[in-house]
């Protein structure tokens, strides 16, 4: 059949695809049983956690896990129902004709603000309205149905979901929606109706069910919860921080959380721990502006105690003055003398050492995050 009507062309392509899948059908019973077993395993783990929480008297944790248990039980119930229905299918819809498939394509263009039919690639794309969940604007999404995937399987994996105006989670750019990661949507409660609709060639119902998932937030099992959606990751430990809990380091000019931020004991300005060095004599943490390095013993010295004329710490200056009075005294303290003079040796490389590189805050942050 030759036609220039793109909707009819796509309906034809869809018909061929459905016929191909029916010739080599997947086993929906196996898929349904696997799903139920997976939910059952998770339920068992959560039950164990609940028992532990109760045994230890962790009441808040017990309440939280109980909510998760309840949700998981519901998912298990749904998946078992689906498996049972696969044994005794109850659908009474006659096989979709070309006319029905054409109507499906036509209806899709009425249900969504924008629909695109890529005949050559065999992709049906529907664009959702702007999506906002619990006050978080996530933008519109495009839902793509790949016919080549539908020829092999009838589940939500045939869809690809992409944000058109992405507002991803701060902690993971691939998560553009609490239930979408890297283009893959986890349909949750819509898994069964989507699979059923796809098996029966009911494209619109599958698209609408997926659209309903995108318009709903399930706080029990998101990829990233909306409570953790926004914020800046701490440059040291990686935890998310909001505007009020963020501390700007004047040294490396990055944001840190309350736990990882510190302050210069001399000037009081905010710095991260990687940008501060301790004067072991005074015990003060000093920023780059408030500290010097003794050119003789390499000790960190806060500005107030540092002799700028000689470039020495008080102890080395005293030694030099003694040397000038008594020329037989040794010229410079050796490392063992530094310790005898209460110059605590410090094996760490100091950022202010001549020719030394400053501490790499990226490395420090990575190490902190890894820890």
């Amino acid at each position: 059949m030759k036609t220039k009507d793109p909707q009819l062309q796509m309906a034809l392509k869809l018909q061929i695809c459905l016929e191909r899948r029916q010739a080599a059908p997947d086993d929906p019973l196996h898929a349904a049983i696997k799903g139920a077993l997976s939910y059952a395993r998770t339920l068992e783990q959560q039950l164990h956690c609940h028992e532990l929480a109760r045994q230890h008297g962790w009441l808040s944790a017990a309440v939280l896990v109980r909510e998760q248990l309840s949700h998981q039980l519901r998912l298990l119930h749904r998946s078992v129902t689906d498996a049972v229905n696969q044994v005794h299918p109850v659908s009474a819809l006659p096989q979709q004709t070309l006319r029905d498939l054409y109507d499906e394509i036509h209806q899709l263009s009425r249900e969504f603000p924008e629909v695109d039919l890529d005949i050559k690639a065999g992709v049906v794309t529907a664009v959702t309205e702007d999506i906002e969940l619990k006050g978080f604007y996530l933008g519109p999404f495009e839902i793509k149905l790949h016919l080549d995937r539908l020829a092999k399987a009838a589940d939500s994996s045939v869809f690809e979901v992409a944000a058109l105006d992405p507002h991803p989670a701060a902690s993971n750019n691939e998560v553009t929606h609490p239930h979408v990661r890297d283009g893959e949507v986890c349909a949750g409660d819509a898994t069964v109706p989507i699979a059923t609709a796809l098996r029966e060639g009911r494209l619109v119902d599958a698209f609408l069910a997926l659209n309903s998932v995108l318009h709903t937030y399930n706080p029990h099992s998101p990829f990233v919860g909306l409570d953790d959606w926004e914020g800046t990751p701490c440059a040291d430990c990686g935890s998310l921080i909001d505007g009020d809990g963020s501390y700007f380091c004047h040294g490396c000019e990055r944001d840190f959380c309350d736990d990882c931020a510190s302050a210069c004991d001399v000037c009081g300005a905010t710095y991260c721990r990687g940008c501060l060095e301790e004067d072991v004599e005074s015990g003060h943490q000093c920023c780059r502006e408030c500290r010097q390095t003794c050119k003789a013993c390499r000790r960190i010295v806060e500005n107030e105690d540092f002799d700028r004329n000689s470039g020495l710490c008080p102890q080395c200056l005293e030694n030099q003055q003694e040397e000038e009075v008594n020329p037989t005294a040794p010229n410079h303290p050796n490392p063992s003398q530094e310790q005898e003079n209460n110059h605590e040796s410090n094996d760490r490389q100091r950022p202010d050492d001549i020719g030394a590189e400053p501490i790499n805050c990226d490395q420090a942050a990575t190490a902190g995050a890894a820890a």
Partner: protein, 76 residues
């Protein structure tokens, strides 16, 4: 008379059901989904939006899809 009822809530199966002559869409929804709020569903008769008072006809196709369905993370 017989109609096709497509309930995308739960299992999402299509059913051929018997309804009395003159049954309206609103009455059907009440009968099949008594504890549900029709405002939380996209309801179509023969693929078209319809009002509660619309009488159903022999062989018509009624589909019901919830506007909110909870997603999840991937299965373990």
């Amino acid at each position: 008379m017989k109609i096709f009822f497509l309930n995308n809530d739960g299992g999402g199966f299509a059913d051929q059901i018997d309804v009395a002559e003159g049954t309206t869409l609103g009455q059907l929804f009440q009968q099949r989904m008594p504890s549900c709020d029709p405002h939380s569903y996209l309801i179509r008769v023969n693929r078209q939006p319809a009002v509660a008072e619309e009488p159903l006809a022999e062989g018509c196709r009624v589909s019901v899809t919830p506007t909110k369905i909870q997603g999840a993370t991937a299965l373990a």
